[in-house]
């Protein structure tokens, strides 16, 4: 009797749920992130009420703090710091399109039809 040839089993696929998670380490991480978010929110408010500081400087400072805040949420809470290459590619395209969108807007700011009265 001839031996039946059986197909080799497929290689085990990585299972998303197999990544080890430690609840206590997440609790510590969350405490740190929340404390920093509280501090950054407070500093944004403080900056907005600073006297003798020009509006452009205030806006730049406040948005810089907001970017730090956003990095914390995206990087640590959304796990973007350890994400797959494909997700980074999707986000890179998104960033390019958003920059294009903002560039169009900023470019249009002073683009008036001839004869338009401006203040």
């Amino acid at each position: 009797m001839s031996e039946l040839k059986t197909a080799e089993p497929p290689p085990a696929l990585p299972r998303a749920a197999d990544e080890p998670v430690n609840l206590n380490s997440y609790l510590r991480l969350c405490a740190v992130v929340f404390t920093i978010v509280l501090c950054t929110t407070g500093s944004m408010i403080y900056t907005s009420f600073l006297p003798h500081v020009g509006w452009p400087v205030k806006v730049t400072l406040i948005l810089a703090i907001a970017v730090v805040n956003a990095f914390l949420v995206a990087g640590y809470l959304m796990h973007l710091l350890s994400e797959k290459k494909l997700i980074y590619t999707v986000l890179a395209f998104t960033v390019i399109f958003v920059i294009g969108l903002f560039a169009l807007t900023i470019g249009a700011t002073n683009d008036f039809p001839p004869g338009t009265a401006t203040h």
Partner: protein, 267 residues
């Protein structure tokens, strides 16, 4: 029929299908809110001097909402982590907290909307402006027939610019008092609704859209907390992935607010 790659990662993408799907959806959401943010910039930069409101919104309430959303993002992450370590009780607790925090955010936002909707600006026939919250209208009040009176809790100013920049150190702080204005003295009267000016229009558009996202996220999370959690008994890994996907959406909603708060309330 089994739906493929609900748990295990696709070999070519490296992630399970729902995760790739939610990231593509979030990318489209970035474009949606990006369009509105760029519209805000265009309107803000194009506004005439002294014609863009400053300090109109309640900063403490906005700050409380920022903290609430940040806290809810954390409870969402902890709910997912609890699923990962197979502690369903803790998942229920953390996700329950997220639902309550989401509802608190919406309640505070609705309170702010109500505050703006009952806030009136009245252009008087003598050129002055009355501004404040509506206390009452007389029963015979009719602006077209010029009959009756309205009572506001507010103030009267000479220049419209004094109403625009509430943080201007040159303008003395407002001391609200009860004002009764006859309809015959009113030239124009409208509340701080979206049609009031460009700022209120873009404010209600962006925050309204964001609020709808918060509501949608709360509904989805409530489903997974309630009847949707039956999947946990049949397929805990798939359920965990669903929690991760809904959590990514919730974090995105938090991210949008991180920029909305400073842009609308502080700058």
């Amino acid at each position: 029929m089994d739906i493929p790659y609900t748990i295990e990662a696709r070999p070519d993408t490296g992630v399970y299908n729902a995760k790739l799907g939610i990231w593509l959806f979030l990318a489209s959401e970035v474009m949606l809110f990006g369009g509105l943010f760029s519209a805000y910039i265009l309107l803000r930069v194009g506004a005439a001097p002294d014609d863009w409101p400053h300090g109109w919104l309640d900063v403490p309430l906005g700050a409380v909402n920022t903290v609430i959303l940040a806290l809810s993002a954390i409870t969402t992450l902890l709910a997912w982590a609890a699923c990962k370590v197979r502690q369903f009780g803790k998942f229920k607790f953390f996700h329950g907290c997220t639902i309550l925090l989401g509802l608190s955010f919406l309640c505070i936002h609705l309170y702010e909307y109500h505050d703006e909707w009952t806030h009136y600006e009245i252009r008087l026939t003598n050129g002055q402006f009355a501004d404040g919250h509506l206390l009452e209208q007389s029963k015979d009040f009719d602006l077209a027939k010029k009959t009756g009176t309205v009572t506001l809790d507010g103030r009267i100013v000479e220049n419209h610019a004094d109403l625009m920049d509430l943080r201007n150190p040159r303008v003395p702080p407002a001391k609200p008092r009860e004002l009764t204005v006859a309809a015959a003295d009113i030239q124009k009267m409208d509340n701080y609704s979206p049609r009031h000016n460009t700022f209120t229009a873009i404010y209600f558009t962006i925050t309204g859209l964001h609020g709808l996202h918060v509501l949608a996220g709360t509904l989805v999370i409530s489903y997974f907390w309630g009847t949707g959690s039956r999947l946990w008994r049949r397929d805990p890994e798939r359920f965990t992935n669903r929690i991760e996907v809904s959590g990514l959406f919730w974090h995105f909603v938090d991210l949008v607010w991180i920029f909305l708060f400073p842009v609308l309330y502080l700058t």
